[in-house]
């Protein structure tokens, strides 16, 4: 009986594999490179503009991030970032504009569930995990460096 079950399961897995549309990996990778590269190039232009006002490149990073997050949120609101992500894949999701998109899109979609559990909670659908694990990883890394070197 069990043997039969596992045979069926295997056959099912094979069927799933066969009928699942194949991911066009090469195409995805090329688009991810172009979109990701382009967004970072725009970021570099914004950063260079801030540096022209006398900021160091390090000091210009934070306002550049703020501008890109604003642009990402705006394009998501207009419904354009979805189009960018459709083709760019991780090239559109990995840059900080994609992080803004990951906050705004679910918050818009779940607005009907209210301002608190809809908008307020869904803003952190993706940002929440990123902050939790990012902050925790940074703490552990900082702690280890502190213990090893005496400074973090």
């Amino acid at each position: 009986m069990h043997q039969e079950d596992s045979d069926q399961a295997k056959a099912y897995q094979q069927l799933v594999k066969k009928t699942q549309p194949k991911k066009p990996i090469l195409k995805n990778v090329v688009w991810a490179f172009l979109y990701g590269g382009m967004i970072c190039l725009v970021g570099q232009c914004i950063q260079t503009a801030f540096m022209a006002t006398g900021m160091t490149s390090q000091a210009a990073t934070s306002p550049t991030t703020v501008v890109l997050i604003g642009v990402g949120a705006l394009l998501t609101g207009l419904g354009w970032y979805d189009q960018i992500t459709k083709r760019g894949g991780m090239g559109a999701t990995l840059p900080i504009t994609g992080f803004a998109n990951a906050m705004v899109a679910p918050a818009m979609e779940f607005r009907r569930e209210g301002l608190v559990m809809g908008v307020g909670a869904k803003l952190f659908t993706v940002a929440g995990p990123v902050l939790v694990y990012g902050l925790s990883a940074a703490f552990v890394v900082g702690l280890v460096r502190y213990l090893v070197t005496g400074v973090a």
Binding site: F33, G36, C40, T61, G91, A138, V141, A152
Partner: protein, 116 residues
Amino acid sequence: MTFVWAFIVGGLLCVIAQLVLDLTSFTPAHVLVLFVVLGALFGGVGLYRHLVAFAGAGATVPLPGFGYTLVEGIAAAVKTKGILGLLTGGLTAAAGGIKAAVLFGLAAALIFKPKA
């Protein structure tokens, strides 16, 4: 030259993320979490700093740059505040981005209606 390297390095980071997405069963959210943690790790061992010096926004705009910012902020805060900096440094360095994301995110979600 920074412009060229920003494009190439930023693009390549996204390519790695795309490969992780396509070749594993990770969702995009998993990939983002993985990359922010990797950014913190590579920041911690001092490698990401070189990438930032070399590629500028190509390294700071993708999400690993966020992990790197957290680690660098901790390092700076520990210098001035001692061990308490381990708790305050990360968010202090990332405060601008996080606050902007919350404010702009809230504004966009309130102003715009999702397309049907």
